[in-house]
Symmetry: C2
Subunit: 159 residues, 2 copies
DNA sequence: TGATATATGTAACCATATAACATATCAAGC
DNA sequence: GCTTGATATGTTATATGGTTACATATATCA
């Protein structure tokens, strides 16, 4: 199960797989995966962790792909709004999505020690969100679920 | 059930009740509810919605209780760290806690139309968080659960 | 090939949050 | 009552995160 992302894995192939999936999804939906957008996605996939907008911008600047904040934010907005990346509110940072194209509600496990971020599924119909809808009539359109703690490796290292 | 906070209620009595509960909790735990801290809590209770740190600071400034950001942030840090208020990451804003003193994991329902915020419980041991622990060994220390959508009143007004 | 929509470049700015250091207040022990 | 250490406040400056506004370019399609 790769929904939980703390295991070791073939990272270069997971970058390629991520890019391929997004390319295909863009082709199907008539979206333009322009050079900047593609490069930002690639950086997120390479980093395999939450990256700040300005951290990404710094890299883009070095590579001559734009030097002002809107360049990074626009690319990130594109990726996030089409489900190719997610924003981690807790960190004011962004990660590549592990299930691009699929409609899903992500839930994140954030290690406070090594900054690794794993994406799991949070079924909004179940658990407290479904309950809230049933009890109050609140209409959930979008949900943020983020847990901060220690990943298995860091938890083990401390014990 | 007042865990879900969209119903009409006697707001002045809920402000008093909130202040009383926090005062008592501070007395029991030897915490100093200083004038600034108390006033910030009162503002959050009065507002009954998520308020930004600078919005609070503006009011403090008018009242002559401090004029620089750290004044507001320190009071908010005190309230948050002792469970008397919560930060809504999604909004970069703060709300008074509805269950001060009790140990709990809050879950928020945020109306994008009227900005009302209701606090519900999210039992971290159940739902996806418990599952994540069982499957991966990730140690959850703190969880952020925030749903954005329409409260019953605004949903009704649109239909 | 011209009209429209979409994407990019850039400057200026606003919003959120913290670091660092000085000063004041409080509580406890002598 | 005075000293000492801990806690709280005041203030300056700065770091970090994000947006507005407007000009320019590129793509798409009739």
């Amino acid at each position: 199960m790769d929904a939980i992302g703390f295991e070791r894995h073939d990272h270069s192939s997971c970058i390629r797989a991520g890019l391929d999936a997004v390319e295909q999804s863009c082709a199907e939906r008539g979206l333009q995966l322009t050079p900047v957008r593609r490069r930002v996605l690639e950086l997120l996939l390479e980093g395999h962790r939450a990256m700040g907008a300005y951290e990404i911008l710094d890299i883009l600047r070095e590579e001559g792909m734009g030097s002002q904040p809107p360049v990074a934010y626009r690319a990130l907005d594109f990726l996030v709004s089409h489900g190719f990346a997610h924003k981690i509110e807790r960190l004011n940072a962004f990660v590549a999505c592990m299930h691009p194209g699929e409609d899903h509600t992500p839930a994140f496990l954030i290690c406070r020690s090594c900054d690794a971020v794993a994406e799991a599924h949070a079924d909004p119909a179940r658990g407290f969100l479904g309950q809230a809808v049933r009890e109050t009539g609140f209409v959930v359109e979008q949900a943020v679920v983020e847990a901060v703690g220690l990943c298995p490796r860091c938890a083990g290292a401390r014990a």
